[in-house]
Amino acid sequence: MTSDLNIVALVSIGQHPKSGRARRAEQDARAVELGMRLAGDNVQVLHAGDAAEETLRQYAGMGLKSLRVLQQSPQADAVVALGDYLAEHRADVVLTGVRAESGESSGMAPYLLAEKLGWPLVTRIADIVSIENGEAQILQALPRGQRRAIQVRLPFVASVDMAAQVARQSAFGPGRRAELESLPWVETPDSERAQFKEAPARKRPKRLKKVKATTAAERFKAATAKSQGTGGRIIKDQPPTEQAQAIFDLLLEEGVLR
């Protein structure tokens, strides 16, 4: 594919869902992967934040020679900085993740950037099949492994879905050697976020199936049906027709037959 394309992948600091430890974000890493497959190591990887953040080296370890960091303090609004940078340094394709793994994690970044740049935004892409004559053929990820073909003119912003090719392994050596180019950049404080209060997620009670029971027997059944679910039903010593029917009923009930 044309390697003189100017592809920018935006990366953030991710967070492991179990340990909460900083890591390369899975979707952002997929964006870098996609960029590298389109443009080799010409892909420009951009982060707004702190160049001293060691986690950035996990992106660099994918084989990047350098990574550009718009130096920002944690209170700053990274999207503003990125938008200003991209408005100045013209790109053909800007790739982001769908949602950040830490912070507000609202998924607004690609929308705000596209809005600011006035470019089309294609969401949740699985792949960029080709870019020819200033037009990209894109596969968008739909639920359950389905795909939609999309055509869009350059330049555009795209958010990369988990359905995209998984990011290549990050190697320690190149990660350590890569240059983290720190650019001092104007900061816009994110005053609204300062009002937010963040706390570890509370467990949300799962909604009980509300049974508007009219008889005691129904109430009894509603109460017992729950515990029954944990054990699992076993159908033994019945003709295979009945057994197959039971399975089939479950498939219908789950709506997986289409």
Binding site: G103, M108, R144, R148, Q151, R204, G229, A244, L250, L251
Partner: protein, 412 residues
């Protein structure tokens, strides 16, 4: 359809078996009917069911008094209670909900969003109306029951398929016309999230996303990929998590149609070239929603592949059958294969070794077909069938055939 009484042995069996999961559904009380005056009428003939020996049985517990024994073609019992109608004459303000309408029908997420909309309306001064905006094909008739006061249905070729730019243009017009107090979207992958974010970016609103506890003052939403809770002042535009509020269920709403004068067609820069046909077997295992998985207990491989095709399932495999060369390596499920997230995982002849189980930890429903009732797969399964895989698959294939056939006839 005729009015002939047909016996349905399976339905009868279910009617007898009070522990069957479909029992309640099959035995909807048909014995009681509300007469024209609103009085309860008992139909003594509707009570009970025909037992296996042909004798009528009556179950006084009240749970299984279905007319299931003999299914009557068109004779449906009238819907019981009529809920009170809620009327909003001249709304002081609007709360707009933009619904996903997956498959042309309201989903549970949509209904939760409508429930939330009413919670907000109730929390505000004045006479508010919930306006629902839906796009494209619509088969839903229950908007009123779900809490829609006003309905804006936008249809036409420009809204078909993936048309975020046109839809956004419409929403901007709604903003101009109704200046909603709140904008509510389901935070879903079925379009709600995307439209909500697009509109937020256009209007310069900072939306609350994955919001799950909302009132007019404060909003609690998930952050950090679901691992934190953010408390903030409720913004004007919200993307709501599933089960954010109870759906409306105690009154009917008008669902009055409204229209927009004109919406300028937007410049289409993103062209939808249609959905790509994806063969269930080409879907990456990790994304598949329904997996038919083969283990060492499969003898007839042609039959297995046929079953997968007819059921429309993605094929999976245990390591042993991959090692033995019956299935390709990328199909392997488990510790050294793929970790799957299917909604239904149907394991045929798989014993459930720990390495295999690791791979299906995130599956919703596991179904096992196995000869050995004591194996670990059966212990894990939600439904297990103890028997020979070949025989059970043969009947499953039959059922799937009939089902497909039936579907084809219905469509015709």
């Amino acid at each position: 359809m005729s009015d002939l009484i047909r016996r349905d042995p399976r339905a009868e069996w279910i009617a007898r078996n009070r522990l069957h999961p479909l029992h309640a559904a099959m035995t909807a009380p048909a014995g009681e009917v509300r007469g024209p005056s609103g009085l309860l009428r008992k139909n003594p003939h509707g009570v009970g069911f025909i037992g296996p020996n042909g004798i009528k049985r009556i179950d006084r517990s009240g749970g299984s008094n279905a007319a299931a024994g003999g299914r009557r073609g068109a004779a449906k019992s009238a819907q019981a209670v009529e809920l009170p109608l809620h009327v909003v004459e001249a709304p002081d303000f609007y709360v707009v909900t933009v619904l996903d309408l997956v498959g042309g029908r309201l989903g549970s997420h949509d209904k939760d969003v409508l429930g939330q909309a009413h919670k907000l309306v109730n929390g505000l001064e004045g006479n508010g109306a919930v306006l629902a905006v839906v796009f494209g094909e619509c088969k839903e008739e229950g908007f009123g029951l779900a809490g829609v006061d006003r309905l804006l249905h936008l249809e036409g070729s420009e809204y078909e398929g993936y048309s975020p730019e046109q839809r956004l243009a419409a929403l901007v017009e709604v903003e101009r016309r109704f200046t909603p107090r709140y904008w509510l979207f389901p935070d879903s992958i079925n379009g709600g999230n995307e439209l909500g974010c697009r509109l937020a970016a256009r209007l310069g609103e900072r939306p609350a996303t994955q919001a799950w506890q909302v009132d007019t003052q404060q909003t609690l939403c998930r952050g950090a990929g679901g691992s934190s809770d953010i408390t903030r002042a409720t913004p004007r535009l919200l993307l709501l998590a599933e089960e954010c509020a109870e759906p409306v269920d105690e009154r009917r709403h008008e669902a009055l149609a409204v229209e927009l004068d004109s919406i300028a067609p937007s410049l289409v820069r993103i062209r939808d070239c249609g959905q790509v046909a994806v063969d269930p077997n080409a879907i990456p295992l990790a994304e598949a929603e329904f997996i038919l998985s083969a283990g060492n207990g499969i003898r007839d491989w042609d039959q297995f592949h046929q079953a997968a095709e007819l059921l429309g399932a993605t094929e999976g495999a245990s390591r042993v059958v991959v090692d033995d060369g019956f299935m390709p390596r990328p199909r392997q499920v488990g510790a050294s294969g793929t970790w799957v997230t299917a909604r239904v995982y149907l394991a045929v002849g798989i014993s459930g070794a720990i390495q295999h189980m690791q791979g299906i930890g995130q599956c919703d429903k596991v179904v096992a077909i196995n000869l050995d009732a004591g194996c670990d797969m059966v212990k894990r399964a939600d439904l297990s069938v103890i028997g020979d895989s070949q025989a059970v698959l043969a009947h499953l294939i039959e059922l799937a055939r009939e089902y497909r056939h039936g579907a084809a006839e219905n469509a015709a």
